[in-house]
């Protein structure tokens, strides 16, 4: 699969797909999308990069081990639940804040934090499987 065309386009494709996955993740609260589907898009982006340029390049680019990324996502999800303790509401209640940053109102919430957690769990889990399979193939 290491044709020059594929190797040349893969990094651009990967960058675009990761960007798109973040877009899908963030629009997911009210529209189709969300952490799971966003995570799948990002994971397939890393898989494409791995097919084109080798697994070692992906691992270098990710910096963290995919399982650690997954674990961080799990941690985010738990923290999204725990934030309801200081608020005194039921576990996992959606809590919102609307800070103004540079004149724009941002809607930040615990569901979003949870969704980011899901995104990271899916990215980490699927990429670790994909990378392991690609590694086996290249042996």
């Amino acid at each position: 699969m290491r044709t020059i065309i594929f190797r040349f386009t893969a990094p651009y494709l990967t960058a675009l797909m990761v960007l798109f996955s973040i877009f899908v993740l963030l629009r997911g609260h009210n529209d189709p999308g969300g952490g799971f589907i966003g995570g799948l898009i990002a994971a397939s982006a890393f898989a494409i990069y791995g097919i084109a340029c080798g697994v070692a390049a992906v691992r270098r680019a990710l910096y963290f081990h995919p399982m650690a990324i997954s674990a961080a996502g799990l941690l985010f999800a738990v923290v999204a639940g725990l934030l309801s303790i200081p608020a005194g509401t039921g576990f996992m209640t959606g809590l919102w804040i609307f800070p103004h940053v540079f004149g724009t109102e941002l809607a930040l919430s615990t569901p979003m934090l949870f969704d980011i957690g899901v995104y990271l769990v899916v990215v980490g889990g699927i990429s670790s499987i994909a990378l392991a399979l690609e590694e086996r193939e290249s042996d």
Binding site: A68, A71, V78
Partner: protein, 568 residues
Amino acid sequence: MAAPSETAHLKAEAMIHGALAPSDYLVVAPVAVCFLFGAVLLMVRKRVDWHPWLAIPGFALLLAVDVMLLLKVVADGPQTMMMGAWKPPFGIAFTVDMLGALFVATAGFVALAAAIHATLSMSLVERRYGFFPFMFLMMGGVSGAFLTGDIFNLYVWFEVLLIGSFGLLILGSEHEQLDGATKYCFLNLVATTLFLITTGYLYGLFGTLNMADIAQKAGRLEDDGAMLTIAVLYLVAFGMKAAAFPLNYWLPASYHTPRFVVSALFAGLLTKVGVYALIRVLLMLFPPQHAELATLIAWVAALTMLVGAFGALAQSDLRRLLNYFVIAGIGTILAGLALAGDGGAAEPSIIATAASAATAAPADAAAAPLLPGSGPLVVGLSGAVFYALHSIVVMTALYLAGGTASRVAGSSSLVVMGGLWRARPGLAALMLVFLFAVSGLPPFSGFWPKVILVRGAFGAGLPWLGAVILVTGFLMTIASARVFALAFWRNAPEPAAAGPGAGNAPARFDPKGEASPVAAMLPLVLLAAFVVAAGVFPQWLASLTDEAARGVVDPAAYLGSVFGGGGS
């Protein structure tokens, strides 16, 4: 689309308002603690030297919140927390009553003991592979299953604990383990799928998944066979999870392949989750259907007990023998669930006989608090819960002790083992305690629940079931005596046999625990303390299990916690 103000109004109506006290979060704390520590451990997976220092405090914290939750339930009755503050029955409820609190506290206790044992017996490679993260994941699933008040959520927790257990099962990636794991995975997935399909039927019939709501509606609904169908399907699904007789074949095929610590956790906890789900669904949600199925359950229980006992007699490998002990224990627990049979007719007679027996034999103080005003259902259930808690602790302890013994002897085959009485007298004494307890001999924890169950069986008009319990106890005593005589009492058979000719790869029993035998014994001493305490002073535990049984048979407090106290 509704106008924004209308949406806000509807949302305000659908949600619970009012602040919660920090202690209310104890209901979800066991699950949150498990996932928090599991995630952190996974992030530092490569720093294997940190793992014990994170995992042991993690499990200690888990046990602490479990015990605090139990104390809170003892003091204030069932507790409910609605996820996301959505009102029942629409939000997912976490409802913990005495039954759930007792199970979750016992699970936390054995998890701590197993974790201490694992720090010594797990090699660095296995830690790097992720033993502790998987264990936290599995404990999160187990705790969630005991705490949830939503039947679909129960399914989700079953999946979570299965994923954790798959990881633990193949730790080491040996051929034999993958073979066992395939059987285990396949059959558990069949059972889980059946559970899911049945839950679909249930939702079609009731239009709700909240257990308290189902219990309320089931009483009002006219039974046209659909509810009996659902009850039978749940019985099959959970019976498979619990390794009840016709569906028990997966357990001996897979439980002997992983590490001893993993087997200990599986044997102690996973089958009991199935039993717990069976109690929760059959006895709380479908009591009339349970009464119809009681005869079937009695037969299943008797056959499970006998299969377990005879299987244990036939084995010559310590771990395979313990597998059959697990099955026999499950049968004994199921016997307690079968005592509804002649409910109405037998009710006065059991109270009369039991009361006269209690006055005639004041030594039976343990059974006395159970008796006033309790039918055979409550007596049987209380005995079953008592036996299940005892079984969680004792089976975990037996596997851990067996693991230590196998490491010392260099093999888990009873043909090769020997001379452990001289080599490790402390271990031998503890093993003797656990073997007595698992056989149901006094003065240890297995005796009193069997007394309650046998008496309950005779009182409920099922004397043959009581006889089977006694025969099983006798057979298990013989099997236990074989273990003790062969592995501990006799002299080591052949010095050569324990060496290279042992037949087991030496790496599997690498003598790591020898470095600090005191620390290896600590979890066993902890578990033995429970076994002795529950055997010598059974009243406190019996009164708790009795309350748990009452709470299931008459779930008014459970319903009140979901719709009354927790709902505002």
